[in-house]
């Protein structure tokens, strides 16, 4: 038996469901991973202007995880178009450009500006602060998610992926609003706001005080959010959070993810994405599953499994 690994994310057909998470991928990885083997390539989030990112230290390790406060150092739009885009033109693998801006209009303008040949899709990182709403991230509420997604939708003809934040209290509602406003796929999710303290200095371990937690530690939380989102939207969900092995990827797909992004795992095993792709193939082979896409939403939930709403844990 051979396994068909391809999946379809909106109008985009990917040769397999595995791609990097924004901010954990750059051209240097081609020293270790054959980019032609990946499902897609996803850039670090770019902004319109040049930005320097956050103060150091920018990472601190935790049990089974990493907190980062890299921020978005960006060489700006022009540098991206002139210098980065041509690099990726050499690959047949679709390029997804992650963008961010502090205002709705900024987002729309940037989306328009990157809607150019060589870009296969736009991933809007709306987990960034909205300066028009007191710095609260767009993706924290259904309302601002809907506003920014609508503006993005009317500014680009490219497939539009919207990347949500896990820090909201109701990610399913945010997911629905993004779908309603025209997103073609959701990326669930960005990092979880976290903190660590240096006991030698009694100061925050990160220059920015707060950072975002990623890696295996967050997997059970993000898996739950993928499940919650996939249940309420018809557009594809791309799972992202703590995926380090093919088994993790399979769990995300069963929970409803059409594809997965791998971030922190690449720092630990630089060829993690390739191992995951091979592993998904083996996983399907061993179970006589002809297409990786057959896994999507394959979770078996019986009536009796449905939580007793009135007393569900861990809403103890």
């Amino acid at each position: 038996m051979s396994v068909d690994l391809s999946v379809t994310v909106g109008t985009l057909r990917l040769r397999n469901p595995v791609m990097p998470a924004s901010g954990t991928f750059a051209e240097g990885l081609d020293n270790v991973v054959d980019f032609e083997k990946l499902g897609a390539l996803v850039t670090k989030t770019i902004t319109h202007e040049l930005r320097t990112g956050n103060p150091l230290p920018r990472v601190v390790e935790q049990p089974s995880g990493l907190i980062n406060s890299i921020g978005i150092p960006s060489k700006g739009l022009d540098h991206f178009v002139e210098h980065m885009l041509p690099l990726y033109a050499r690959y047949s693998t679709p390029l997804v450009v992650s963008i961010s801006a502090p205002t709705v209009e900024g987002f729309a303008n940037l989306a328009r500006a990157v809607s150019i040949p060589g870009v296969a899709a736009i991933e809007a990182n709306i987990s960034c602060p909205n300066i028009e709403e007191d710095g609260k991230a767009f993706a924290m509420t259904p309302e601002s998610t809907e506003r920014v997604t609508s503006a993005l939708r009317s500014s680009t003809g490219l497939p539009l992926w919207v990347k949500l934040t896990p820090n909201t209290g109701d990610i399913a509602a945010v997911a629905r609003s993004a779908e309603r406003a025209g997103a073609n796929a959701l990326v669930v999710a960005n990092t979880i706001l976290a903190m660590a303290i240096d006991l030698k200095t009694f100061r925050p371990s990160l220059g920015n005080i707060l950072g975002g937690l990623s890696g295996p530690a967050v997997k059970p939380i993000i898996l739950r959010q993928v499940y919650q989102c996939a249940k309420v939207v018809a557009i594809p969900v791309i799972g992202c959070g703590g995926i380090a092995t093919a088994k993790d990827a399979a769990e995300f797909m069963l929970a409803g993810a059409t594809a997965v992004q791998v971030g922190t795992a690449t720092f630990i095993q630089p060829d993690a994405m390739v191992r995951i792709i091979d592993g998904i193939k083996q996983f399907c082979l061993h179970r006589d599953i002809p297409r990786a896409s057959d896994l999507v939403g394959g979770l078996v939930v019986e009536e009796s499994d449905e939580p007793d709403m009135a007393w569900m844990e861990p809403a103890q």
Binding site: E27, L29, N31, V33, D34, G53, V59, D271
Partner: protein
């Protein structure tokens, strides 16, 4: 594949085609450009056009411990049997080691370690490390035959200009590990080395013999003998420049010494290279956690130590 001749191509603007050709002819694995990595990247990408022959140029592999012994009260030397690709590391390059758990502490990230030595046949790579935290405590537990997941060689190493006659290596602490293989590379290239090694106490001058075996003049300076101060190091270096002469400075491990070297380099119009440290996550240019500021002709530019370095132009380095 393993090529030991190192060639410095000083080329600020070279047509890409020609460069690519030059490189193929020279069989040179790594080149050093004044304007950083961009051309090297383009080059790599060019090779990609023919997808069939994609090959990793950095190895992620399970190497095997040959030995792991204390060399003095502070440092341990770890010798690994590895692939030819890993053993092709150049002085100044580093590996990201997936350190084992120790006493219940599991280091999540890899740990960067400079190559301290390499051999082609059988392929081996060595590290010299100081036990400081969870990761290096994990390294300490390794015994002969143990597996260790290593990722490298990474980054831009030191480069030698074959026209040089005499160079000065100035290092302190773990910096001595980083500079040590440069001494033998210089010896092979027929360049004389003066090594100024700084440490807290004479017994901590780990690699002095290694430098001497490469024919280097070794000057040990220590805190306990009150000889390691910037003034004394400066005096020694002025003596070298005035005497035998010195074409370039190489340094690692002390920003106080860096400043001395920068001042002297400027005064005498000398070039220099410095290997820098910074906390790392990915080690290969993806995450931007390892940035430092550099002074590029007056502009303060943030660069990734793992990718743009760890070896940088001495004149551009900032503490």
């Amino acid at each position: 594949m393993p090529v030991s001749i190192q060639i410095l191509i000083i080329a600020t603007t070279v047509a890409k085609k020609r460069l690519s050709l030059a490189i193929e002819i020279a069989l040179c694995k790594a080149v050093f450009f004044r304007d950083g990595r961009r051309m090297l990247q383009n080059l790599t990408l060019t090779n990609h056009d023919a997808q069939e022959d994609w090959r990793p140029t950095v190895s992620t592999e399970t190497a095997v411990v040959l030995s792991n012994k204390a060399v003095n009260g502070e440092y341990r030397r770890l010798v690994m049997s590895c692939s030819a690709l890993a053993a092709s590391a150049e002085p100044g390059q580093f590996f990201q080691l997936l350190c084992p758990e120790s006493a219940g502490e599991k280091p999540f990230l890899r740990r960067p370690m400079s190559v301290y030595g390499m051999r082609k046949a059988p392929p081996e790579v060595e590290f010299l490390y100081k036990v400081t935290g969870a990761g290096t405590r994990g390294l300490e537990t390794l015994v002969q035959g143990d597996p260790l997941d290593i990722f490298g060689p990474l980054g831009v190493g030191f480069k030698l200009d074959l026209s040089w006659r005499s160079i000065a290596l100035v290092g302190r602490g773990a910096g001595l590990a980083t500079l040590a293989p440069l001494a033998s590379m210089a010896a092979q290239a027929g360049i004389h080395v003066t090594a100024i090694l700084s440490a807290r106490r004479p017994d901590l001058l780990v690699s002095a013999d290694l430098f001497r075996n490469c024919g280097a003049d070794v000057v040990g300076v220590t805190d306990s003998e009150a000889t390691s101060g910037p003034a004394n190091v400066e005096k020694i270096l002025r003596g070298l420049i005035a005497g035998r002469g010195c074409d370039a400075f190489f340094t690692c491990g002390s920003s106080r010494l860096m400043r001395v070297l920068q001042r002297l380099a400027a005064e005498f119009g000398l070039v220099g290279q410095i290997a820098m440290e910074q906390q790392m996550a990915c080690g290969i240019g993806l995450c931007h956690c390892c940035v430092r500021d550099f002074n590029m002709n007056g502009d303060i530019v943030s660069r990734r130590v793992c990718w743009d370095g760890p070896v940088f132009d001495l004149a551009e380095a900032m503490p």
